[in-house]
C-alpha cells in the first residue's frame, strides 16, 4: 500500500518535469527536464519492483541510470560543440 503511495508521488513529479520539458523556453531547460525525468523513472522502476514483490526489476533500473547519464552527456556535448568527438583544446574545464 505504501509503495503505491510512493509510486503515485513519483509519477506526479514526473508529470511536473514533463510539463517543464514541454514549456521550457530553450533547449537547456528541456535537457535538464529530461535528465530529471530519467532519474525519476529509475526511482519508479525500483519502487515498482517492490510493489510486485520482484526486486529483479532493479537490473532494469540500473540500465536506465547508465543510459540516462550517457544520453545527457552526449546531448550536452553535441549542443555545445556540435561534435561528439570534440577534444578539450587545452581548456582546464575539460571536454564535457
Amino acid at each position: 500500500m505504501m509503495f503505491t503511495v510512493a509510486a503515485v508521488g513519483v509519477v506526479v513529479t514526473m508529470a511536473l518535469a514533463l510539463a517543464r520539458a514541454l514549456i521550457g523556453p530553450d533547449i537547456f531547460n528541456r535537457i535538464m527536464s529530461v535528465n530529471v525525468f530519467g532519474t525519476l523513472s529509475v526511482m519508479l522502476i525500483a519502487i515498482y519492483g517492490f510493489i510486485d514483490g520482484r526486486p529483479e526489476f532493479l537490473d532494469l533500473a540500473m540500465v536506465y541510470a547508465l543510459i540516462n547519464f550517457i544520453g545527457t552527456i552526449a546531448v550536452t556535448k553535441y549542443v555545445t560543440f556540435a561534435d561528439m568527438g570534440h577534444g578539450d583544446d587545452g581548456d582546464p574545464a575539460g571536454d564535457i
Binding site: L16, F28, L40, M62
Partner: protein
C-alpha cells in the same frame, strides 16, 4: 520485520517523496534555468537518496540492497557531472543568469566577454 526499522524506512521514503515534489514544484515555478538546476539537483540527491535508503531498509540484507546501493552510488557521482556539463553547454550557448547584485553582474559580464572571445 522489526517495527522500528519498518517505521523508519517509511519515514525516509515519505521524506524523499516530499523532496521530489518540492523539486518538481521548483522546476515549474523558478524563474531562470540556473535556478531550476537547483530544484533538479534536489531531486537527484536527497529525493533519490532518501527513497533508496528506505527501500534498502525494506529489503534487508539481500542482493536487492546491493543493487540499490550500486544505483545510488552511480547517481551520486553522475548527477553533479551532468549538471556541470549542462551548465557549460548553456554558457557556451550564450544563456546567462539574470542577477540583481552588482558584484554578481560583473562576474556574468566577464564570463560573457570570455565566451565571445573564444568563439
Amino acid at each position: 520485520m522489526d517495527v522500528f526499522v519498518d517505521g523508519f524506512s517509511w519515514v525516509m521514503i515519505v521524506g524523499g517523496l516530499c523532496f521530489c515534489l518540492i523539486g518538481g514544484y521548483g522546476l515549474i515555478t523558478l524563474k531562470d534555468m540556473y535556478a531550476r538546476l537547483h530544484a533538479a539537483s534536489l531531486i537527484d540527491t536527497l529525493g533519490v537518496g532518501l527513497v533508496f535508503v528506505g527501500l534498502m531498509m525494506q529489503a534487508g540484507f539481500t542482493l536487492a540492497t546491493a543493487k540499490l546501493l550500486l544505483i545510488l552510488l552511480f547517481i551520486f557521482f553522475t548527477s553533479p557531472t551532468s549538471t556541470h556539463a549542462l551548465t557549460r553547454a548553456a554558457i557556451n550557448g550564450n544563456t546567462f543568469p539574470t542577477v540583481d547584485d552588482p558584484d554578481a553582474r560583473a562576474v556574468v559580464e566577464a564570463t560573457k566577454t570570455t565566451v565571445e572571445q573564444k568563439s
